[in-house]
């Protein structure tokens, strides 16, 4: 799956618009969903996704296949762009809850990884304690500062990192081994 992405990405680098469109089609829904989860707003989510594709097209963001999967790279860029959107608009009340628009078509046909892993991963997350779920949500999806996490949980600043890692590692443990094999990076 990664090979298709790498192949398309190389074509994009040569200026192939269709290749960019194909990457777009493959990732639109995942990236939009991710960004929407982070920003909680349609407009910001779209803007973040657009920023990612502009970076790819203008070669400002360069993917290096020796450093991991294309999907991880593009998702990280999207997360960063989304958190950035959020940061630029700090005036918007930082509500930790967000309105989830149900998908009209639950099938995510373009990205087999998402389809295969999504359900299992969501299942795994739901097995975490509520506190750990919240920890992951605030840390990863809201990009909160260490200080804000400490205040939110009323825990000492110095313990935040340990708690975040614990939650992430716990999740990692729950995720079945077979999934891990498919999801390992190419390094």
């Amino acid at each position: 799956m990664n090979d298709i992405d790498v192949e398309l990405y190389e074509k994009v680098h040569l200026g192939d618009k269709q290749a960019l469109e194909k990457i777009y089609d493959r990732y639109e829904k995942l990236l939009y969903s991710l960004s929407y989860k982070i920003t909680g707003q349609k407009e910001l989510a779209e803007e973040a996704v657009q920023e990612v594709f502009i970076k790819i097209w203008t070669k400002k963001g360069t993917y290096d296949s020796s450093k991991g999967k294309f999907s991880s790279w593009i998702m990280t860029m999207t997360r960063n762009a989304s958190i950035d959107q959020l940061r630029k608009r700090r005036d918007i009340p930082s509500d930790f809850e967000y309105e989830q628009i149900p998908s009209e078509s639950p099938s995510v046909e373009n990205l087999i990884e998402w389809k295969e892993e999504g359900t299992m991963l969501r299942q795994a997350v739901s097995e975490l304690s509520e506190e750990q779920q919240k920890m992951i949500h605030l840390f990863y999806f809201k990009g909160l500062s260490q200080q804000s996490i400490a205040s939110e949980f009323e825990i000492p600043l110095g313990t935040v990192k340990g708690r975040v890692r614990l939650a992430l590692k716990h999740l990692r443990k729950i995720i079945p081994q077979k999934l891990r094999k498919g999801g390992e990076s190419d390094e």
């Binding site: 939009y32 998402w114 991963l121 995720i175």
Partner: protein, 242 residues
Amino acid sequence: MNNNPCEWLLDYFNGQLDEVPRRKFENHLSDCRECRAELDELAMLTEDLPYTVTPVEPPSEMKKRVLGNVFQSEKEAEQPKQQIKEKRRENKWIKPLLAAVLFASLIGNAYTLLSQDKTDNSKEEKRETIDRLQTSVALKPGEGVPMNGRATLVEKNDETEMIIQAENLEPVEGSQVYQVWLLEEGKPYRAGTFVPNSDGLGAVSYRLDETEEHKWDTVAITLEPTEKSKAPKGDIILSSEL
């Protein structure tokens, strides 16, 4: 904020560090194996998290809008590419570049400043270039510094030029110069040197070396004792993420 950069790792990962601490952390990262390992681990542990999000249907016209905007900028840059190449080597692109920069509502005075340096204006009028604004960021002043400025990256054909403009600069003394740096994960590269005029205005343009792949993340200006500094010696006067 805690003085131990090791404690900044989460905030770095979450893009919560301001320019100066961010740069400091990146410097620290190149020396601290533990932090590098922790950062890698964090990346690994969070790698699959995006797949946990509930699918949300993107707006129906989103693809059209996004790709339209992505390609739009390219369209503007695509036109005449020939005949420009030779002249560009002679640094004659400064004026059209500045026009592009000023279009983005920048420091008007710097334009006058640089135009004065140009003698052969008539020839330049005839030359057409289609440049594409890649990015333009306001430079944030360091603590207690009244200066401000802007860094603009302009794509010219297959090359990238960076234009820096700044105002309210303190006059330099002796051999002092203002030095521009581009940073890649905390590592500084020289990217242009300038001295301000008597009005405290300064500008410099710099062609980025594209023979090597770089992911510039920060642009910064320092005041250096001489024009020969291989690494920043002075404090950061202006900086921004890219």
